[in-house]
């Protein structure tokens, strides 16, 4: 396999976890070939990549890249990939990663496989990628000289290989056309509380909660655990909670330590959003509900009785 180029995203010096996973996938694919990494603007992040499998880090610096500009990133990536003559470009399967790789693929007229869980070199390269948010797997062949792919979050483990990687800074060529699509303003988040995407623990309610007021015991439990409150699509469609609380294929995809699903049946699109959780506890009246077979722990019962009982037990244990 020829060299592989990885698009590494980061924020304020911290490399995105999924980008590290992309590097790991690149390592698997590259075999004998070298793994290159592209970092845009973030010098501290670029410096920290060595141990994670990058042989060479390319740091692009340009005055116009202060805010997110995905077309510019795509151009830089495409130009670099061409210069290095890589056989594959891999990005993280995040919102940013997917859009940048897609743009780079569009520029170069190449196919793009998003959210891959594995890749096998060959002519053509074959990948396994996610459909239906992860409820279905697709085996696909990429008919191109340069494969463009993103790695599905948390499907490949990031690996520390040790070693250092030299960082080569460069100033990429950019036109005004590349900078038309650029973030021009940042509206800071108003909400306090625990962010759904980042929370260690998420307590979620579904149709079984029954009403907006019915969420009170769930919020109580979440408060006791310092957890975020989530919900299923049935809840947002009923208007009981805002869409920002929705966990699912078209809501927020989460990967907490623990996901507590109360009164959620476990429709495909919901599981797509929470399957990243390390452990799932399901509380449901129906032992046959789909979520029960996706869970690690199960309580069969009415959430309106079980959840307050858990809260009470937590208080008792802590009080003691």
């Amino acid at each position: 396999m020829a060299a592989v180029l990885v698009y590494v995203t980061s924020a304020d010096g911290v490399v995105d976890e999924v980008a590290l996973q992309a590097l790991a996938l690149a390592g698997q694919l590259a075999g004998e070939g070298a793994v290159h990494a592209l970092v845009i603007g973030d010098e501290a992040a670029a410096a920290s990549l060595g141990p994670w499998g990058a042989a060479q880090v390319h740091l692009a610096r340009h005055e116009a890249l202060g805010s997110t500009a995905p077309d510019a990133a795509a151009r830089i990536l495409d130009d670099l990939a061409g210069r290095l003559g890589v056989g594959a470009v891999i990005g993280p399967g995040t919102d940013l990663g997917n859009t940048v790789i897609a743009r780079a693929a569009a520029r170069a007229g190449l196919p793009f496989a998003a959210n891959c869980t594995s890749a096998t070199p060959g002519h053509p390269m074959t990948v396994t990628r996610l459909r239906w948010g992860g409820s279905l797997l697709e085996e696909a062949a990429i008919h191109a000289d340069r494969a463009m792919l993103t790695v599905a979050p948390h499907s490949v483990a990031a690996r520390q290989t040790g070693g250092a990687a030299p960082v080569e800074a460069f100033t990429p060529e950019l036109d005004a056309a590349d900078l038309v699509v650029r973030a021009v303003e940042r509206i800071p988040a108003a909400r306090g509380g625990v962010s759904l995407a980042d929370a260690r623990v998420v307590v979620s309610g579904g149709r079984g909660v029954g009403s907006q007021a019915g969420f009170a015991p769930i919020e109580e439990l979440a408060g006791l655990l310092g957890a975020a409150v989530g919900c299923s699509r049935a809840v947002t469609i009923s208007g009981w909670r805002p869409h920002t609380d929705q966990v699912g294929q078209t809501g927020t995809k989460i990967a907490p330590e623990l996901y507590i699903a109360c009164g959620i049946s476990g429709a495909t699109q919901h599981l797509a959003g929470c399957k990243g959780a390390k452990k799932i506890l399901a509380i449901n009246k129906d032992p046959e509900a789909p979520i029960m077979s996706a869970a690690d722990f199960v309580v069969i019962g009415d959430l309106h009785e079980v959840v307050p009982a858990i809260s009470a037990e937590i208080r008792r244990v802590r009080g003691a």
């Binding site: 009403s211 049935a234 469609i237 009923s238 208007g239 129906d286 032992p287």
Partner: protein, 675 residues
């Protein structure tokens, strides 16, 4: 004719023409409104309809559901019927003391009847006042009481002036028959002063009597007393059979221009003539309100107030509507919801039919409420969010919970039930499972029990499995007629291709829709409820239950017992398996479990209907609550748990399985017990 008579005659005729003219004008207006109403088909079963005129109108049968008011009304109703000729007599008599109806006025028996029935009217009025002022029933809350008092006062005054007039005629010797024939009038005559005062009294009383009658006549079409003139009409056109059948809307009639398609009731423009007459017939008696489970548990819905509200809006805007139809001006009806009926009120209804059952004058409240819902849902998309979510799931996945259709066979694991595949020969009877038993863990127990019993009895049956779609009942009751018809057509096609002719189902809603409503879409099948089929099997000895000692109270499902008259077969089964104890509200007066009208999927506000029914069951002291419906199973089980009732809630089929097992262990005890 002497000049006095002529003068009287001319004066009376003038007065009479004024009153009768105003009366006629009002009646013509009401008639025009009804003729302007949208159409509805009601001419089947004429013999039954005529029979009802006898039993319900003349016989006042429904009024006797409450005995004392029944007696009260019978006295007044029959009083006025018998006294009708005296109206003409008094009008003639106002012109001249010698003018009267030939022959009849000479019949002593008629004079006797007049006396007795006029007294009856007074007695009835007295009872009515006693009820209203003494007992003050709750069902009158919201009714216009002053109108009722006025009507009663009119009736009393008419009766009293009739007595005074007859009495004075007796005193003056003007009657052509022996005074003994009219004992009350004669007795009254004894109290009157001698002539000439009595002559004055005679003239005065007949004129007052006649004027009261004319005034009352005019009062009638402006008040709820209009029912006297329209009730025979309304009762005639009430549904005779298929009470659970709602009338379909037609969306695809090529002869109807798009803006004329009826999507339910949005304004008075879309009222059917029957709905208009329903409003005109309402006596504000409140029996419907008393029977309504939603009202009972503290919700806004009062069926009486719904009908009154719609009627009042019709009267308020009717003139403008007719004027526009005649080409004078335009008319934009005010939306009935929320002006006449609040949104919440429309959604409170569980379509249990208790109101329709109680109504003595043939009002069909469910039609009104569903038609209001049809407009809200299909035209305005204005409905509770949970209901909307259910309708969308129904449309996409053919079941109201959004589950995968292939999961419809999951409940059959381990039961070895035949799933009918395309091209298979049809079974003797198709077991229509329904969505609740397929997808709900408590509701499916009844289906499992039924399947086991059918197998035990050797019945040749099969299920459709993933090819079964929801019958559409929840969509139709919620007003989404469009989705209902799409599901109905789909099911009719599937059943037709499969060659199905006989269907058994555990769900009364499926039973009602498949049997009563699918014929409108070309689907004609013999549909039986599982209790009917199981009772038949027990009678034939194909199932041998052994009765236990468990005390069991049976809950009649609305869609079985009230809408479809299935009451005895479940009781046969309960009697065959245990000791039955009845609740007070049972059979046709059963109290809903609260799931109907789409309420399984709507958030419950205020008090809980299912908890109330659970309490009623607990009060019998029975150990077990037997049900025959998957929705009742879930609702009443929830109700038992939240009220701490303690009764086990089981489908009749499950109880039968237990009894059959008992029968196997103790063959000597297993005699099919048919009461």
């Amino acid at each position: 004719m002497d000049s006095g008579t002529l003068a009287s005659g001319v004066l009376f005729l003038a007065v009479w023409l004024v009153f009768v003219g105003l009366f006629a004008r009002r009646m013509i207006y009401l008639g025009r409104l009804v003729r302007h109403g949208r159409e509805t088909a009601r001419l089947d079963d004429v013999p039954v309809r005529l029979g009802r005129e006898v039993t319900r109108v003349l016989g006042q049968s429904k009024l006797f559901l409450r005995p004392v008011p029944g007696v009260m009304h019978l006295l007044i109703f029959w009083g006025f019927l018998v006294l009708l000729p005296t109206i003409l007599m008094s009008w003639l008599g106002a012109v001249s003391p010698r003018w009267t109806i030939p022959w009849l006025s000479e019949q002593g028996w008629f004079a006797l009847m007049a006396d007795l029935f006029a007294l009856g009217v007074l007695a009835g009025v007295a009872i009515a006042f006693a009820i209203r002022l003494g007992q003050r029933p709750v069902r009158f809350v919201g009714s216009r009481l002053q109108q009722a008092y006025n009507i009663l006062l009119f009736e009393a005054a008419i009766s009293i002036t009739l007595f005074v007039w007859h009495g004075s005629r007796v005193a003056l010797g003007l009657n052509e028959y022996p005074a003994a024939w009219s004992p009350i009038s004669t007795a009254l005559a004894g109290l009157l002063p001698a002539a000439p005062a009595t002559e004055v009294i005679e003239r005065a009383s007949v004129w007052i009597h006649a004027l009261l009658i004319l005034a009352f006549l005019l009062y009638i079409p402006y008040t709820k007393h209009l029912h006297t003139l329209v009730v025979a009409f309304n009762v005639f056109f009430e549904r005779t059979r298929g009470r659970g059948r709602l009338e379909p809307l037609r969306f695809d009639d090529p002869d109807v221009p798009e803006d004329q398609i009826r999507f339910g009731m949005g304004t008075i423009q879309e009222m059917t003539w029957k709905q208009m007459v329903d409003g005109m017939t309402c006596t504000e008696c409140g029996r419907c309100q008393d029977a309504c489970p939603a009202f009972f548990t503290g919700k806004n819905l009062s069926p009486k107030l719904v009908i009154m509200g719609l009627r009042d809006q019709l009267y308020r805007e009717g003139h403008k509507m007719l004027a526009a139809a005649a080409g004078h001006g335009t008319f934009e009806g005010t939306p009935l919801v929320p002006t006449a009926v609040a949104d919440e009120t429309v959604w409170d209804c569980v379509t249990c039919g208790a109101c329709v059952r109680e109504c003595p004058v043939g009002i069909e409240h469910i039609d009104h409420i569903v038609d209001l819902r049809r407009n809200l849902v299909m035209v305005q998309s204005r409905l509770p969010a949970t209901g909307a979510a259910m309708l969308r799931d129904l449309e996409r996945t053919s079941n109201p919970w959004g589950n995968s259709p292939t999961a419809r066979v999951d409940w059959t694991a381990g039961l070895d039930i035949r799933v009918l595949e395309p091209g298979d020969a049809p079974p003797e009877v198709l077991f229509w499972v329904g969505c609740a038993p397929a997808f709900d863990e408590r509701a499916r127990i009844g289906a499992i029990s039924t399947a086991r019993l059918l197998k035990e009895a050797g019945v040749d049956f099969a299920i459709l499995g993933p090819r079964e779609s929801c019958t559409g009942d929840p969509a139709r009751r919620m007003g989404d007629e469009y989705t209902f018809q799409a599901l109905a057509k789909q099911n009719v096609e599937t059943l037709g291709e499969a060659g199905v002719t006989r269907i058994v189902t555990t769900c009364p809603h499926c039973f009602n829709t498949l049997g009563n409503e699918y014929p409108d879409f070309g689907g004609r099948y013999e549909v039986v409820h599982h209790t009917q089929l199981l009772a038949e099997l027990v009678r034939e000895g194909r199932l041998s239950p052994a009765a236990g000692s468990e005390s069991i109270t049976y809950h009649d499902s609305c869609y079985l017992a009230r809408h479809n008259d299935v009451r005895s077969e479940p009781r046969e089964l309960v009697a065959a398996v245990g000791r039955p104890i009845e609740m007070a509200r049972r059979e046709e007066r059963t109290f809903c479990c609260g799931a109907g009208g789409g309420h399984m999927w709507l958030e419950e506000r205020a008090g809980q209907i299912n908890e109330e029914r659970a309490r009623q069951a607990t009060a019998t002291g029975a150990q077990t609550l037997a049900v025959a419906c998957p929705f009742c199973t879930v609702m009443l089980d929830d109700g038992m748990r939240s009220t701490g009732g303690g009764l086990a809630v089981k489908d009749v089929a499950t109880l039968l399985v237990e009894a059959v097992e008992r029968g196997r262990e103790h063959p000597a005890d297993s005699l099919a017990r048919v009461p």
